[in-house]
Structures are given as structure tokens and as C-alpha cells.
Symmetry: C2
Subunit: 134 residues, 2 copies
């Protein structure tokens, strides 16, 4: 059911510093900062040959990232995203096993303009998992 | 400098349950459990189309994973691994920027029988990063 690892998302306390370190010391291809006010984040994508790293930085007073950074001031891995072909079928299969979907259980349009869901970390080895329909 | 994301490593409190969930509910290709006594872990690899997920479970009394699981009983993402062509050159470039390498600073032979190093999470957005020479 799950396909590619679409990205690993890292919450960062300093977006410019993270971008500069990955561009410079780590020699990666780093994109521009993009504000996503609907999601309460500013993001930067690092393009690796096989997947992406997504830096997340809080945007606005209600950012879902702020609480994570308050608990993890140095930053940290926030979630990983698996691609699925059919997000409703994936959700229904997972819910049938007892796994919990965050929010109201319905897909939202994510940062890549595609339907996404988040799964409860306690049901998945302590990892916040995003499913993205591709 | 960094190339592919080789894997995302997840410390899990129950290796069989994690394997069964990924094989069943998530429909992924899950390999066998492999004891790695030199590293103090039992590992299982989940093969995604573009990268791998590595489940880590403590093996032996001195496992480097036990402390992580004590702090994170549900499990959690332990590290991410980037591939590099030349691990000595990568290390020297990173150390020159002030980044810290864990241990004695010399590569060890990792779980894939290739030279690896771990970088200090506080120098990399709170993420423990493994570099693996490929």
C-alpha cells in the first residue's frame, strides 16, 4: 500500500541557518523559503536524489510547529511522509486495524496541493506519519 | 556532497508488532529480523521503492538503543542516514565548519558493512545524522 517515502520533515529553530548548512557544509540542493499560511509554516525543501527533506518553521501565532519547537528547542524530526495511491482506501484499511487518524479523519489539502492525512504517532512506533495521495 | 537518503531508522519497542503492521496494514515489503551483536541491535528493513525504513530494537545489555527507548517508550525516529562518496572528505569538511562527530571521530563499519559516522544532533537541527560511504 505505501509507496515512496515522499519526504522527511524536520522542524528547525532557524530556517536560514538550516538552509545555509545543508547548501554549504552538506552540499545539497536547497530550494527557497515558501510561506504556507494555510498550514502555519514556512517550508524549505532540500532535494536529495531519491527523496526530499522538508524544513518546517512556524508561521503565525497558531503554527502547529511551535509546540514541537517549544519542546525541542534545537529542532528535530517532526514527521515522515509516505505516498499512497488512494488515501481514502488507505485510511479505511488503517482505521479497520484500530489506527487513529488525526483531526476529523478526513483528508486535507497538504503543502503539495495533494490530499494528506496524519496518523497518530502512538499507533505507529512513536512516529508521526503523513500519508499523501499521489 | 550528501547523496541519497539511505534510510530512516525508527527505534521500536516491539519488533514483531512493527514488522506485522508495516507488512499488513501498511502493505510494505518487510525483511527478516537480523541480529547485529557488534552494534547492539536487532534490525528489520522495510523496503520502499526509493529508500528504506530500518527498525531498531535493543540487543544485549549495552545496546545504544535502550536509552532512547527508555526516554521514548512508544518508539520514535532515531536517526536518518545520508550517503556520501568519501566519508573522510565529508567528515573533514563538516568538522571544519565546527560540526561535531560522535565517538572518536573515525568511521566505523556500520550495519551495511560500509564505513559510517554519526554527527551530533545539536549541530544538525536536533537530528542524529548518520553518514554512510557508498
Amino acid at each position: 500500500m505505501i509507496g515512496r517515502l515522499n519526504h522527511v520533515a524536520i522542524a528547525v529553530p532557524d530556517l536560514d541557518a538550516a538552509a545555509e548548512q545543508y547548501r554549504g557544509a552538506l552540499g545539497a540542493v536547497v530550494g527557497p523559503a515558501i510561506d504556507q499560511p494555510d498550514h502555519g509554516v514556512t517550508v524549505i525543501f532540500v532535494e536529495l536524489p531519491n527523496t526530499k527533506i522538508e524544513f518546517l518553521y512556524p508561521l503565525g501565532a497558531e503554527s502547529p510547529i511551535q509546540n514541537f519547537l517549544d519542546k525541542n528547542p534545537a529542532g528535530g524530526i517532526h514527521h515522515i511522509c509516505y505516498e499512497v495511491d488512494d488515501i481514502i482506501a488507505a485510511r479505511d484499511k488503517l482505521v479497520a486495524t484500530g489506527a487513529r487518524v488525526l483531526g476529523n479523519g478526513e483528508p486535507k489539502i497538504g503543502a503539495h496541493n495533494k490530499p494528506v492525512l496524519f496518523l497518530h504517532p502512538k499507533d505507529f512506533q512513536g512516529c508521526l506519519i503523513e500519508l499523501e495521495e499521489v
